[in-house]
């Protein structure tokens, strides 16, 4: 495909994705969450440009919170890097599940680098929901547009939180921290139409706190592998019985 027609067809798809970002609950949930992260960074003494860059580059709230609090409380670089890496394992199965939905005929691996970077829980949940209704050849541009919208919301919120730090009443700080678990739960319940997803969600929800209480190392990873595999086996068994 010549580059002219390529850009002519991808620009509207990108714009459509960008517009969809503002109709997603996550544009607002991320805003609230990153107001909290911006305030946290300010309290630990990081500069505003550093905070903005870390939001855009890391683009994973748990990893960013771990990095800020680890460095802020004087942890070593290696120790902090390991903690960040452990929190990021969840991104691997998300990327593996998402990219085959984006690939069309003639898609090069380098076209998928940006969507892989943008993969985070919010973007993943919305992409899995929205992509089936998008023509295959427009999916990468749509996904990038959606992601840029969500990242923009997070970056602006990081700046807002940086300046609001210290002025936020504690009850609202608690409410901001509650946005992530609440919005993820409601969105996953909306999106889980098939048995295997519902089971996986229920197993993970129960297993992770149990494993964490038992002080099992890599509790999240184990609850994912065990819960997901159990859900998959039940799905296989049900399919075989039918």
């Amino acid at each position: 495909m010549p580059p002219e027609s390529d850009s002519a067809s991808t620009a509207p798809a990108f714009a459509r994705g960008f517009a969809f970002a503002w109709r997603s609950v996550f544009a607002y949930v991320l805003f609230g969450t990153f107001v909290g992260i911006g305030a946290l960074g300010h309290d630990f003494g990081f500069s505003l440009p550093w905070m903005l860059l870390s939001t855009a580059l890391i683009w994973a709230a748990p990893a960013q919170v771990i990095l800020i609090s680890a460095l802020g409380t004087g942890a070593g670089a290696i120790e902090a890097a390991i903690a960040v890496a452990l929190s990021g394992v969840r991104l691997l199965p998300m990327v593996v599940a998402l990219l085959p939905m984006l690939r069309a005929e003639g898609t090069r691996t380098r076209d998928l680098v940006l969507p892989a970077h943008f993969t985070a829980i919010s973007m993943w949940v919305e992409s899995l929901r929205l992509l089936p209704s998008i023509p295959r050849e427009h999916r990468i541009a749509f996904c990038n547009g959606l992601s840029v919208g969500l990242v923009l919301s997070a970056v602006v919120a990081t700046a807002a939180g940086f300046y609001l730090a210290g002025t936020l009443p504690r009850v609202y700080a608690a409410a901001l921290l509650f946005l992530t678990p609440l919005s993820f739960t409601v969105s996953v319940v909306r999106n889980s139409h098939v048995l295997v997803d519902r089971l996986a969600f229920a197993f993970g929800l129960v297993l992770a706190p149990i494993l964490a209480t038992l002080n099992v190392d890599l509790d999240l990873l184990w609850s994912g592998v065990v819960g997901g595999t159990l859900a998959y086996l039940i799905y296989r068994w049900r399919r075989a019985v039918r």
């Binding site: 670089a77 892989a116 993943w124 739960t185």
Partner: protein, 115 residues
């Protein structure tokens, strides 16, 4: 902030301690996904694992929260989550409604029981 680490250069620390240890999983996913088609059976399992991990993140945030959320009792956190889900189901399956009502429930519960 730890001067020992951050004095090297805060931006090098951002790249090597924050960005790369996280990004490595996305790049590994990019490599592993290269040979997979959308209909591949293994993707059902991969998606189940990803969903279970996501659920695990939620479970840990509810049972072991950080920051200001620790001063809200567990019963209020679970109750607000249930109220939010109920609002989602009742109010035309709107995620916005579920999140708004769940948040209102958390703030009300927090003001009543802890603040």
């Amino acid at each position: 902030m730890s001067p020992a680490v951050m004095e090297i250069s805060p931006y090098l620390v951002l790249i090597f301690v924050g960005f790369l240890p996280n990004e490595i999983w996305r790049l590994l996913g990019l490599v592993l996904a290269r040979r997979l088609n959308e209909g591949a059976e293994v993707l059902v399992w991969v998606r189940a694992v990803a969903t279970a991990i996501l659920a695990g993140v939620i479970g840990k945030l509810i049972f072991f929260p950080a920051g200001a959320l620790t001063s809200v009792p567990l019963a209020v956190r679970i109750g607000a989550l249930a109220v939010g889900l109920l609002a989602f189901v009742v109010i035309r399956r709107s995620v916005f409604a579920g999140v708004a009502v769940g948040e209102a429930a958390l703030i009300a519960g927090a003001l009543l029981f802890s603040f």
